[in-house]
């Protein structure tokens, strides 16, 4: 139009500039700094002088505890992603078909999203899944004559996964339910009518052949968000399992392990940064791979 390219570029930076500058300062500078630290022997300093090349990386990749934290993450993701996905979808399907009380149920399931991990972890640890007899779960067990279970301290069977997964499920299921509800609203009712005319019984068949394919876009978004969030998991693990003396060797995801390596009293910032870089690469790889895979599936279905 009247305006030339140059003026558009100027306006672009007027709009994007402040944000980009802030992001550069508060995300990219620390990020590059971390990468830099990973090549140094940086005990208790952020301006190290002793260059060690790739030593921190080889040490981290040989560290059993770090490798087991990656395994922990995989187990956690394998639990939390499908469980949250199925639960939030099921909630959405049920809530969507309720008549008058719909807003009420939506609110109830969505409400936990307002709680912090600190509060939720506290309720879970101190009251709901408390290991002694006055915990609610143990009280219920007691009604059936069962012994109290030390939920967070028992490694065999690993009950702590139940506690960790249910906290996150409670906090997040409602949010993803809202996403699914929005997706369900967008499905053209004509599709269901057509299915009814074709004699499809409401229920499983309709769900499989109409609802789920129509929700594919939402599903992709939900799965991506779930996996990214699972990678970032820190708060509930930390608040549930850490104590004044540290953190147990089980259920220790990578971020918690790195937090103790870099920020704990050991303050091995070089080693911690190397672990962080490795982790960020893994996250990027998985996310990009997953996005590719899901998008491919989508084009297949679409046509």
């Amino acid at each position: 139009m009247r305006r030339g390219r140059g003026s558009d570029a100027l306006w672009f930076w007027v709009f994007v500039g402040p944000f980009a500058a802030g992001l550069a300062l508060f995300t990219y500078v620390p990020l590059l700094w971390s990468v830099g630290l990973s090549f140094f022997d940086a005990h208790n300093t952020v301006t190290p002088t002793h260059f060690v090349g790739l030593d921190n990386y080889t040490a981290m990749l040989r560290d059993d505890a770090f490798l087991s934290s990656l395994r922990t993450f995989l187990v956690f993701t394998a639990f939390i992603v499908p469980v949250t996905y199925v639960c939030s979808l099921a909630l959405a399907l049920m809530v969507n078909r309720v008549g008058r009380a719909r807003a009420f149920f939506r609110s109830v399931f969505f409400l936990p999203a307002a709680c912090s991990y600190v509060v939720a972890a506290m309720v879970w640890k101190m009251s709901l899944f408390n290991g002694v007899r006055f915990g609610l779960a143990n009280t219920v067990l007691g009604w059936f004559g069962a012994e109290p279970v030390a939920w967070l301290s028992t490694t065999d069977p690993p009950w702590y996964w139940l506690v960790i997964v249910t906290v996150r499920l409670w906090l997040q299921a409602g949010f993803y339910m809202i996403l699914f509800l929005a997706g369900l609203q967008r499905i053209d009712p004509v599709l269901y009518e057509a299915a009814a005319v074709d004699g499809a019984r409401p229920g499983w068949t309709v769900l499989r052949h109409i609802t789920l394919p129509q929700l594919r876009a939402t599903s992709v978004a939900v799965l991506l968000l779930l996996v990214v969030n699972a990678f970032q998991a820190f708060d509930e693990f930390y608040n549930l399992l850490s104590d004044a003396r540290g953190y147990p060797p089980y259920a220790r995801p990578p971020l918690v392990y790195l937090y103790y390596t870099a920020l704990g009293q050991g303050q091995n910032l070089g080693l911690g940064s190397a672990g962080a870089v490795i982790l960020a690469l893994v996250v990027a790889l998985v996310t990009v791979g997953q996005a590719r895979w899901l998008r491919l599936g989508r084009t297949d279905a679409d046509g």
Binding site: V16, L23, L255, A284
Partner: protein, 277 residues
Amino acid sequence: MDDALVRAGRALRLVLLVALALLFLIPFYLLVRNGLATEQDITSPDWTFVPRELRWGNVRELFADPSVPFARSLLNSALIAVATTLGTLLLASLAGYGLARIPYRHATKVFYGVLGTLLVPAAVTFVPSFVLVSSLGWISTLRGLIVPTLFSAFACFVFRQYFLGFPRELEDAARVDGLGHWRTYWLVVVPNARPVFAAVGTIVFLGAWNSFLWPLVIGQDRNAWTVQVALSSFTTSQVIRLHELFVAAAVSILPLLLVFLCFQRWIVAGVERSGID
């Protein structure tokens, strides 16, 4: 026959929903039950659904506790959450609009630069961020708690996606009227994008209110504590005062529940129309 089956199915669904709703409400119930009970009641081996002695005095005790400035921490959290929300909305929406709508050669590259940061966990860059903020002299200040968190790649991403799907006709009409990018944005785009602002705003507000690790390290002075830091101070390494802990937690989520219930309609509408998916 079929009708009866459908009705039975509906009843079953309702029963299941009610049961699930009760399950979801249990943690809230526990907060209130334990928050209003005495220490002895909480730790009693004989469970009671309502505390034997309802102690509203716990709330007063909480605000009177000299070792934890709880009222001040609520105020700090409110200030931080409001400022973070407004700042993030302004910065991210401008950036999202610019990325989506202003033609520029390197726009895609900039967008990927923004998107890439979503993959990097915050804890990874935690120490350098902390040292950076400290070298700006922002420790224990509100700006240290607010400014570094204003640049949310997530919010920017959501705004960009939303504006990509924004009807071009409105902007074209504005252009015909002779409005530039700036005035088009403020006079046409923003008023028509309220749902996405409400949705992102609520999510950012919740995140700011609930954030823990950053305020814990930056808010060193007691007067800069947020409510989450104050909460964590009740679980000290040596003594845990259960009733105070629970009443504090209950009080800390009250403002949020209010915000949440008021804005819920907006969030849902925002999610439905903003293309978060």
